[in-house]
Amino acid sequence: MDSGKPDEPLTGNLTGADPGRWFRLRLAWWSKAWALVLVLVIALFSALSLSAQGEVLSVSAQVDIDGEVVYQQRCAFCHGDQGDGNGPVARYLNPRPRDFTAGQFKFRTTASGELPLRQDVIDIVKSGVRSTAMPRWDGVLSDAEIEAVVDYVTQSFVPFWGTYDPPVIEIPNPPRVTNSMIEQGEQLYQELQCWKCHGDTGRADGGSALTLTDDSNQPIRPADLTKAWRYKGGSDLVDIYTRFSTGLDGSPMPSFYDVIGDDERYALAAYVQSLHSGEPTDKSVVVAEFVDGELPGAVDDTRWETVEPTSFYLTGQVIVGPRWQTPGVDAVTARALYNPTDLAILIEWNDATQDATSGGPEQEQVGQTYIDLETFLGAGPYADGLAVQFPASMPEGVDKPYFAWGQPGKPVNVWLWRAAEGAQEFNGTGLQGGLTAQAESNVEAQFDYAEGHYRLLLIRSLNTGDPEDIELRPGEFIPIAFQAWEGSNGEAGTRMALSSWYSLLLEESTSTSAVLYAALAAVVVVAGEVVLMRRLRS
């Protein structure tokens, strides 16, 4: 504290400042005390406000969030002001929004016919319902808002709510799936006769499938069990198990809780999971492998089993009226092979009904367009169909024709197959103009339909010499798109499902000469380096 004796070495306090000086100032004691109190008060206040920061979110739970306001802002346009599922947009939706006043909920953990738990409803609001218009509200609404709106909906609209405790179904943890479980599940699928509605291969083509109605007497189809991504309640093992146990109230799907035990229900769930197939991934190229010889001429040629498939989503055509919100076909799977002269492309898709008759004229005339339902095809019936679309000529750069049947100046070349008429090549310049049949069609087709599943083989030469036909050259990413029609869904012309542009690649085989040249080049380079190193060293 003292300034120290002159002959002592410096002790690190280079400036000579004395920090303790302030306290030794001769201020009145009370001013020091007030200053200290002020400092303490400020410190305490900061500490309190910092800790309060962490509690802001839960404070909002205590602040009354008006569930009715959330409902009006977020829910009422589908679910209706009266909670009866009759909001202004409900008529465009399939499936329709939940009618809360009916008190039937599909996804819950309670016994058949019973009300859901409050937590079940919260879970649905958070996760949304896949493959429907019900969005995932988790992350959009806060937990407090979700709870408030669930309380509003259940207390205002759901009959019997709060009058009793619904019996809960215990959901045991899913076991590890084994092959014997899947076999047992397959046996159960047969014995319980799930195939009556879901079909022998799960493709919703069972004998009773077309007669089903939901509780509002609207037609409803059983789930296509192969399409995992379409399971509304989730496709994990425990999700499927829960569906068997609770049933899907409001729909024809019953509960089998009284019929088979936990292990058996999990085995059945494992079998159902084993049916999953054809789910599109982010793979966007159909790779056609080279075949040095004859291409397969039939859909059941065993060579197709070794070709890598690629699956694509299809969606309804909503660009020109009538806007097709609920198409019948929602995914296709493609495989392709090519040889020096031809391309063979195998396309597969699910369709619960085979519609092979068309109300339209029997013969395609040159120049007739495939578009206008009323004048061209009449009122039906309509036949199933599938189309593979290419640009009429390879685009320069990235400028592809419009994905839906092209545009004026950028036509498309469409290989259209219809169950009533077979395959024919068309050209199109947009949805307004429709597709026009070519005078000379070069595409051939072979198909089969079994158990809710179509396989279609289209074969055409790589280069037809027709300027309106796409020329398929190896090594190029050729734009390719798909369209599909399910006849019994009233689909024909522009009422269709379609995809955006993907790519077809005719894989170039690596010739032996290329390998040899590469090897030779490698040898020369290595030899050259050795020589150079020797020179440097010496």
């Binding site: 016994a111 019997f160 319980l192 004998g207 109605t213 024809p252 089998f256 009284d258 019929v259």
Partner: protein, 257 residues
């Protein structure tokens, strides 16, 4: 402020608590203790009976054939073909499958529920009986006699529904706690299957049989309104006065097109 003694507050609290709990509401006795002729032990023991027939005049619609190709196990039970049961006119000009029940006139009390269940059978891909009467809370045994997949799917409004799979010969028991006229019952697997369940709060109901007749017995003396229900022709009511232990005959008449 005047100082209160220390014991006033606990005394006050104790008084309030005792007053709230000690009194208690009078428990209403379970049924069967008051009223003349009120039933005891589950069986109506009043002596009055209403019996009668449901007549049918005019032309009934032709029964429509049911296509049972999807279910050969059931189809072969109908070598002459299966037909809808919407209007079943008996040979003697009476109407079958009319549900009748006492709508008004009963003493307001709890009528004991029989411990005997009623049976709803699925046989030949049909519901037997086509129209079933049951008391609220009374067990219904739902039997699958066919051994093929049926699902039992009633669609009530005043009661909770259920949808249960029955893939083999088996029985499931359920009950409806609330009265409801009438609950449609369907099977989703077989879309032609249709049945009806009438649930009433008391045991005074009947279904007209294959001779059009019905009987509701055990009624105390009184003035009653009887309602008849038919799935196509709707409801009708009749008033009837029953003396103690007496029998009254009534007739309903439904007219076809």
């Amino acid at each position: 402020m005047k100082t209160l003694r220390w014991y006033w507050l606990p005394a006050l609290i104790l008084t309030v608590v005792l007053a709230a709990c000690g009194g208690g509401g009078e428990q209403s006795p379970a049924g069967g203790e008051e009223g003349p002729g009120a039933p005891t032990g589950g069986q109506p023991t009043g002596g009055g009976t209403i019996s009668g027939v449901v007549n049918f005049t005019g032309t009934a619609p032709d029964p429509e054939p049911i296509l049972m190709d999807a279910e050969p196990v059931c189809q072969e039970r109908y070598p002459d073909g299966a037909f809808t049961e919407t209007v079943e006119v008996n040979d003697n000009g009476t109407l079958q499958n009319v549900f009748l029940y006492v709508k008004e006139g009963l003493v307001d009390q709890e009528w004991p529920v029989s411990s005997d269940p009623v049976l709803l059978d699925q046989k030949g891909c049909r519901y037997g009986p086509h129209v079933l009467g049951v008391q609220a809370g009374q067990d219904i045994v739902i039997r699958n006699s066919d051994g093929i997949l049926h699902n039992i799917h009633p669609k009530p409004i005043n009661n909770r529904s259920f949808n249960l799979g029955q893939p083999v010969e088996m029985e499931t028991t359920r009950a409806f706690p609330n009265s409801e006229i009438m609950i449609p019952v369907i099977c989703d697997v077989h879309d032609w299957m249709q049945g009806y369940i009438g649930v009433v709060d008391h045991p005074f109901f009947a279904v007209s049989g294959s001779d059009g007749s019905f009987e509701i017995s055990g009624l105390p003396a009184g003035e009653y309104v009887i309602e008849a229900w038919h799935e196509l022709y709707g409801t009708q009511t009749l008033s009837v006065s029953i003396p103690e232990g007496g029998t009254e005959q009534i007739e309903f008449t439904y007219e076809g097109a």
